[in-house]
C-alpha cells in the first residue's frame, strides 16, 4: 500500500486555527484559502478537524463542508463532535470520504459498529489521543478528560468493532514541531492490522520517514505545512527517494 502524506486542517467552524497540545488555538487563515491551496498541490488527502465542535455541541459546519467539497477533487476526512449515525451521514452526503470518531467512539463503541453497518468499515477513522507513555489511559474531549479505559486494549478491539483506520495523535507533541513518538507509532502499528495515520510533532522529512518505518501507513501534519517551508509534495518526493512507495501523479 502506498503511503500518504496528509495535511491536517483544524477549523473552529469559520477559520483555520492551529494550537499546541490540543489547546491555545489561534487563527492562521481562512478555511477556503487553505482548501484551495491544497487542491492545487496534488495533495494525497486532507484531514479536517473541527476543534470547537464538541464545545459548541455540534458537528462541523455543513455549509463549510459542502464548500470544501466543491473546491476539492481529492479525498478528505472530517471529524469533530460526531456523536450519531445521522451526523455521520450528513458528513458523508456533504462530501467526506471518511469520518473521524474520537470521544464518541470511546464512550459509545457501538456507534462504530452502527456506522460501519451502513457505510462500511473503510469509512470510519477512530482517533486515539494519547499522552506520553505506553499503558496509559485513553483521553477524550480533545485530551481534557482521562478515562479509565486502557488505550492498548481499546485499540486492539477497534477492528472487530468496525473501524477502518486509526488516527494516532500525540497530545504532547501536537503543534510542537518536536518530533514524533515513534515508539508509540510502532507499538500501535504492530497491535492492529488496520492502517495507522501517525500524527503529532512531525517536523522534518526524516520524521515522516521514521513514522512510516515504524509502521504507519500515513503521516498527518499541521504545523509542518503551516509554519515551515516544507510542502506535502516535497515529503512525498523525499519518501519516494528513500524507497517508500508513494502516489504517482499523472
Amino acid at each position: 500500500m502506498k503511503v500518504r502524506v496528509i495535511p491536517t486542517i483544524l477549523t473552529d467552524g469559520l477559520t483555520v486555527v492551529k494550537g499546541k497540545n490540543f489547546d491555545n488555538w489561534r487563527t492562521v487563515g481562512s478555511a477556503e484559502a487553505t482548501a484551495r491551496l491544497y487542491a492545487n498541490r496534488d495533495v494525497d488527502e486532507l484531514l479536517f478537524l473541527d476543534v470547537m465542535a464538541r464545545k459548541h455541541d455540534s458537528i462541523i459546519n455543513l455549509n463549510l463542508l459542502n464548500h470544501f467539497t466543491s473546491l476539492l477533487d481529492i479525498p478528505f476526512s472530517v471529524g469533530g463532535g460526531i456523536n450519531t449515525l445521522d451526523e455521520a451521514k450528513s458528513c458523508f452526503r456533504n462530501g467526506a470520504e471518511k469520518i473521524v470518531l474520537g470521544t464518541a467512539a470511546v464512550l459509545n463503541p457501538r456507534l462504530i459498529t452502527q456506522i460501519a453497518d451502513v457505510f462500511g468499515n473503510q469509512a470510519i477513522i477512530v482517533s486515539i489521543d494519547f499522552e506520553c507513555d505506553i499503558g496509559n489511559r485513553i483521553r477524550i474531549g480533545s485530551g481534557t478528560i482521562e478515562t479509565d479505559i486502557a488505550s492498548l486494549e481499546f485499540i486492539s478491539r477497534l477492528e472487530s468493532l468496525g473501524a477502518g483506520e486509526i488516527l494516532l495523535q500525540s497530545i504532547q507533541r501536537d503543534g510542537t514541531l518536536n518530533g514524533m513518538d515513534f515508539k508509540r507509532i510502532s507499538q500501535v502499528s504492530s497491535l492492529t492490522r488496520l492502517p495507522v495515520i501517525a500524527s503529532g510533532g512531525a517536523a522534518s522529512f526524516e520524521d515522516c520517514l521514521e513514522a512510516i518505518l515504524s509502521g504507519a501507513t500515513a503521516v498527518a501534519a499541521g504545523a509542518l505545512f503551516q509554519f515551515t517551508e516544507v510542502t506535502p509534495k516535497q515529503v512525498r518526493k523525499y519518501l519516494a527517494e528513500q524507497g517508500i512507495a508513494t502516489r504517482a501523479v499523472g
Binding site: D73, P75, F119
Partner: protein
C-alpha cells in the same frame, strides 16, 4: 444527454454530482434519481459508492430501483458503478452473504486477500495496470494513480471484461471492468484529482459516441 445519479441516501452524492456536473456540455442534463417511478430513461446512470453491500442493495430495493436499473441497462443505458457501486453490479458479496447484487456483470465480490505487506481496508493511491483491450478510456492506460478506499473487490467471471488490475501485496485485484454497456471502477474518480477528471470526461464521451 441525460445523466442520472442514483441517490441511495447513504452515499457521497455531493462530490459525485459536482464532478460530473463540471464535465457536462451544453444541452446535457443531470438528475438525481431516488425512486424507481421515474419514467425518463437516462443515457448514463451513475451508481456512486460508499457503504456496506447489504445496505446498498437494501437502499436500491426500498426505492424500487433494482428492476428499473436492469430494464434501463437492457434498453441501452450505460451504467457506471463507483467503488461499492461497482460491487453492487455483481452477484453475491463476501461482505454480506445471502444478499443478491444487481447481477449486471457475471461476477462475485471477494474480500481483499491477506498480504504481509498490506493492511485492510486498502486506503490510498494506487496505479491501475491495463489488462484488456480498451479504446474508450485513455486515462486507464496512462501514468498516474487513482484513489482507493475499500476492503472488497469485484471478480468478473469473464476475464476479457477486465480493463485494469491493481497490485495488492504479491497479488492483484480487478480495479476496473467493462461488460458491454456496464462499467465498474473500484477507485473514486471524483476524488482522484486531475486524473479522475479526465476519466469522467472520457466516460461522458463514451456515452456520446455510442448513443
Amino acid at each position: 444527454m441525460l445523466v442520472g445519479i442514483l441517490d441511495l441516501g447513504i452515499n457521497n452524492l455531493t462530490s459525485v454530482q459536482k464532478s460530473f456536473s463540471a464535465a457536462l456540455e451544453l444541452n446535457d442534463k443531470i438528475v438525481v434519481i431516488d425512486q424507481g417511478e421515474r419514467e425518463e430513461r437516462p443515457d448514463l446512470l451513475i451508481l456512486p459508492g460508499l457503504g456496506k453491500f447489504a445496505a446498498g442493495m437494501m437502499a436500491l430495493h426500498e426505492r424500487n430501483l433494482v428492476e428499473k436499473i436492469r430494464n434501463w441497462s437492457l434498453q441501452g443505458t450505460k451504467v457506471v458503478g463507483i467503488c461499492l457501486g461497482m460491487q453492487l453490479l455483481g452477484g453475491q458479496s463476501e461482505e454480506s452473504p445471502g444478499v443478491e447484487g444487481l447481477n449486471l456483470i457475471n461476477s462475485t465480490v471477494r474480500r481483499l486477500p491477506i498480504e504481509v505487506s498490506e493492511r485492510i481496508p486498502h486506503i490510498g493511491w494506487a496505479e491501475v495496470i491495463k489488462s484488456g483491450h480498451n479504446k474508450h478510456f485513455p486515462s486507464l492506460k496512462s501514468q498516474g494513480d487513482f484513489y482507493f478506499v475499500h476492503s472488497f473487490h469485484l471478480l468478473p467471471t469473464n476475464e476479457t471484461e477486465i480493463l485494469t488490475t491493481t497490485p495488492f501485496g504479491k497479488s492483484i485485484f480487478v480495479s476496473s471492468v467493462l461488460s458491454g454497456n456496464i462499467l465498474g471502477v473500484q477507485f473514486h474518480p471524483e476524488k482522484s484529482g486531475a486524473k479522475g477528471k479526465s476519466l469522467i470526461s472520457e466516460i461522458l464521451q463514451w456515452v456520446r459516441d455510442e448513443s
